[in-house]
Assembly symmetry: C2
Homo-oligomer: 460 residues x 2
Amino acid sequence: MDGPVPPHPSQARGEPPDGAEPRRHPTGSNEQPAAGFSRRRLLGALGIGTAGVLAGGAAGGALGRATADPAPAGAPAAATDPVPFTGEHQAGIVTPAQDRLHFVALDVTTDSRDELIQLLRDWTAAARRMTAGQDAGPGGAVPDGAYDVPQDTGEAIGLPPAGLTITVGFGPTLFTSADGVDRFGLAARRPGPLVELPAFPGDQIDPAISGGDLCIQACANDPQVAVHAIRNLVRLGAGVVSVRWSQLGFGRTSSTSTGQATPRNLFGFKDGTDNLKAENASTLERFVWVGDEDAEGGRAAWLRGGSYLVARRIRMLIEPWDSSTLNEQEATIGRAKGSGAPLGQREEFDPVDFTARVDGEFAIPETSHVFLAHPTNAGTAILRRGYSFVDGTDGLGRLDAGLFFIAFQRDPATGFVQVQRNLRTDAMNEYVRHTSSAVFACPPGVRDDADWWGRALFEG
Amino acid sequence: MDGPVPPHPSQARGEPPDGAEPRRHPTGSNEQPAAGFSRRRLLGALGIGTAGVLAGGAAGGALGRATADPAPAGAPAAATDPVPFTGEHQAGIVTPAQDRLHFVALDVTTDSRDELIQLLRDWTAAARRMTAGQDAGPGGAVPDGAYDVPQDTGEAIGLPPAGLTITVGFGPTLFTSADGVDRFGLAARRPGPLVELPAFPGDQIDPAISGGDLCIQACANDPQVAVHAIRNLVRLGAGVVSVRWSQLGFGRTSSTSTGQATPRNLFGFKDGTDNLKAENASTLERFVWVGDEDAEGGRAAWLRGGSYLVARRIRMLIEPWDSSTLNEQEATIGRAKGSGAPLGQREEFDPVDFTARVDGEFAIPETSHVFLAHPTNAGTAILRRGYSFVDGTDGLGRLDAGLFFIAFQRDPATGFVQVQRNLRTDAMNEYVRHTSSAVFACPPGVRDDADWWGRALFEG
Ligand code: HEM
Ligand code: HEM
């Protein structure tokens, strides 16, 4: 003991990321800390242990802000500008989060590998055009021949690119069907981490809005541009894929770049403050991008430079939240509602300090969302890129609203699953219900004009 | 006959509005024209007959553009600015259509007239604040006392007013329940025109998303601002009202001011070109605002300066539309897809001319939407203020997308109902399905600080 601070039962929940081992699976993360470990000393130790990894020297500091790399290429200058489509990674992951989302999960309805490949080629061509602000097909929305079917549906005529990104992912069932069939000769290339997510306590998952063979995430600063992109890709997929479920998001709930203001979620709190940020390339390599070490002897080599997308539709129980006190709300999150500052601090980007006390009590309760989700306690980090939604009513006179949570990570097991397991004592659980679940492997970026989404998977 | 133009069977569908009779009901509108009536002559006659009423001297001209009054007060200078809350009329009707919508229909769950009145007072106070960019309640989102429940949910902290308008309406069932009960002592004040809409051929109405005792339409240029407004009003209504259904709209599909660019709907066509426009006060008096003549001997006097809101959720059958030719699409609408010009003309705002011919045929087919909806053929005019929606999928692998149609009119019978009846031969019917229906009487504007929504109804 180095002082009067009592041992804190949750100090050792999760373990700090360890620079020597890139992907960690949750093991014994529920053990009690050794007696005599102080909150301060533990965090000090983590601070040292994670400095190189989390790129934040201060114990519990804001991830990725301390030693930021130069701004990444591709950050758009204005909300109407295009975001480059080609590159090492797909856009729509660490590129600045746009304001609006249209997400769709699809099932492949053909048995033909060739038809699937042709669709991925067609999608790539159309996405290349649309992200540049062009029509989906070269014939355009208003073809020269009056008896031609338009190659674009037209509702985005005259609209700027609006930062449109289109991000594609492959679900576990694309590789092996639920009954074990190798549908398209891809089973031997399914990466080990690409499995359906486990069940979590409290889950109320609706299978009808979960899973999917493929996903397309379209983000833009104009919803009409995002909807137009999905609609034209779905149209190209007629006879090959069918829409399984889809989700509109009206407002981003995270920042993915230090240049972005932090938006507020439907609980009224700033969301995304301590998110992984695009400016910190080394943290992204560590936690977001699939690396050389993940090749699994070549099996998953096609995914290098890609990432895993986890989607969870989380209903937020607006009514009980809205009738709780400010104190209850702030204790639930672990941050101040107004400023977004960690409890016990003053400014939004002040480092989180779990040892800070107010009136003798720890300022940040150990059941708070931030306490449990923070890398020092969760032992890992994820890139959040979610959106608020309102989907009508629930039949009980209440708005059906919440967060369409999207996270990108190098491995779902050491990313979302590990954090979500650590959130089992989260005070926020009283106010949220997870109603859908899906996971997709997002291939790396399209490199050049000859490349297409998934080429390395099908041809590599 | 004054030339070789053959008689056109649809020339006399509907009759021209007649300046002498403010509200007309559809009567015998399906009769054939007298032999010898030419398209040109009929339209010429209508042009004269409607010049004073439609404020457009040219036959079939763009309504309300020819003799525009000066720009109305209250048009915001920027998309972030506030729109004045008080005034002769409620904002959100002829004020410039904002980009995003959150619409909610509610049922009153209390039997207490006093509780209902108190809620309308509370809503008025909160709307007054929120439309000015303030928190819903004076205590704000971050109350001084940590053990206070916040008076605002907080997700709009830091956001500008974003042109927010909040428009309230009273449904038929607020006055008399379906089984004839005078619920709140209002039955004697129910205006004659406030009855549920009739059924139309092809309707596929879902009662669960139709009707409602009350409605709130929140429009803003930022969806978070619109959602925040509805959510806080719903919150204030706890125990008094319950949400019956709600609809988000992501993109406006009409202009209501000559200063606004015409947006495109999900069929890819410009929508709102020939809408009633705010600049034309005399046309609005004629077709949108309930007037002195509508008082019904005092029964409906409280509604003077108000308007009727008709809402129809219209599913658009995207897939067949997207596989039809340009020619078929343009013949269905009656306008060019690229420019938005009436067929046979060059520019979007060129007057519609139903006598124009291309290769010997009428350029605008008599089954086109514009032909049938145009005032010269529908015999009336409405103010459209709808929004595009995407509500997930339909269980058959298709996007559930369409138009949340909102129209304002002086009388539903001579407004929406008359136009919709005239659309029974509309070629567009093949591509649309009406899935919800509702009608509300929107009281006039809140006049001053002592006034509240519906005061004249309850106290007048
Ligand atoms: C509706 C559900 C949720 C809400 C309203 C919510 C809200 C928040 C808020 C307000 C913050 C603090 C600001 C920030 O640093 O971004 C935060 C942080 C965080 N959340 Fe959530 N969250 C939700 C669900 C989740 C889930 C399901 C996960 C992952 C399993 C998660 C992981 C995180 C992480 C990793 C942080 C950063 C913690 C830190 O480093 O301090 N959240 N969340
Ligand atoms: C999904 C359904 C609908 C679509 C896609 C649609 C689309 C259009 C388009 C593209 C125009 C031409 C541009 C303009 O002047 O605004 C138009 C005009 C119009 N529509 Fe619709 N419309 C729909 C439903 C309705 C309904 C239900 C009504 C009323 C019952 C209606 C009434 C009108 C009127 C009055 C005009 C103006 C015609 C003129 O004065 O030339 N529309 N609509």
